[in-house]
Symmetry: C2
Subunit: 165 residues, 2 copies
DNA sequence: CTTGGAATGTCAACAAGGCTGACGTATCCT
DNA sequence: AGGATACGTCAGCCTTGTTGACATTCCAAG
């Protein structure tokens, strides 16, 4: 038959295996967002606020445009979120010095505190998953995720890390 | 110092590593949904329709309640989606025979065709990612994802597979 | 046989968070 | 001087989630 696999090595590419991978992504992403979502639900915030806070924390002083390209939403969408965060004193927006059209975003103390609360919860789950799966599984996990990204997103994913140096 | 790692083996549990894993999940999930989203955008459907179609295809004859527990939304949310799919002739709802309160959901030919289009696109990306990462990475990927799920979701994830036997 | 509860469907109202389109202002660069 | 860029904002729309209330249908226990 045509479906016979040429050895065990390609079994991970059967449609059934791929389908299980798809479902694993679906269920895992739910777990991934569950803890922050629970915390955010007690405030007037949602997942969109979390994403903004996360990436501002990650790249303090980032511009609105940069954040837009990372989050992949329209400026109107981001602005709605950003406005409430600024009004609530969690994010600070400072005019740029070299280019005064730009706004540079940073977390205030309160913003940083919320960020810590959210990311502690999310990291705790990630840490538990990593620990139970082990270092080699984690390396594979990261490899597959990276291969799944759109090339442009992959560039941004790397860019964020390089900015830390 | 307290931060000194006890060897390379625990490096995958540093906050920085966990943070990168979190961001990898974020960017990868975007890629994961990008292709079906593009297809759905050309019709009057969204991601919610895709999810319903996927799990009906996966478990033909499933009940509304079962679908609800898998998708984790309210019946009102699901019903809205289901109604349009039934009206459009993609899903068939048949009253149960043993328990006639239940509705059993199956895809029509048209529904199955759309499911194939959507899942072909999603599987193509998954296949490319799997191929580029290799079988061992895939095993690790699956392990970490599974560890990340809520226990209840993990049960459902396994239940779907066992139902195939 | 009656009744309680479960499964399902439906109506209404609302909110979050996407989107498009249009417009205005400040700033920078050529 | 004029075009491009960065940002903010108003208005309106869509999908998809939520709660609450209520009707229907049916199974099962008393």
């Amino acid at each position: 038959m045509a479906e016979v696999q040429s050895g065990e090595s390609l079994l991970f590419l059967t449609d059934e295996q791929l389908r299980q991978g798809i479902e694993a992504m679906f269920f895992a992403y739910r777990g991934f967002t569950a803890d922050p979502d629970r915390i955010l639900a007690t405030m007037a915030y949602g997942r969109a606020h979390h994403r903004a806070i996360h990436f501002i924390a990650r790249s303090p002083g980032t511009t609105v445009n940069n954040l837009l390209s990372i989050l992949g939403v329209t400026k109107q969408s981001l602005n709605r979120v950003l406005r409430t965060l600024i009004e609530d004193g969690l994010v600070e927006s400072r005019q740029g010095t070299s280019d005064r059209r730009e706004r540079h975003l940073t977390l205030t103390e309160a913003g940083a505190a919320l960020e810590r609360t959210l990311s502690d919860a999310q990291r705790a789950r990630m840490r538990a998953a990593y620990r139970s799966a082990g270092p080699e599984a984690v390396a594979g996990f990261r490899q597959v995720l990276e291969a799944m990204m759109d090339p442009e997103m992959r560039r941004k994913y790397h860019a964020i890390r390089e900015a830390d140096i």
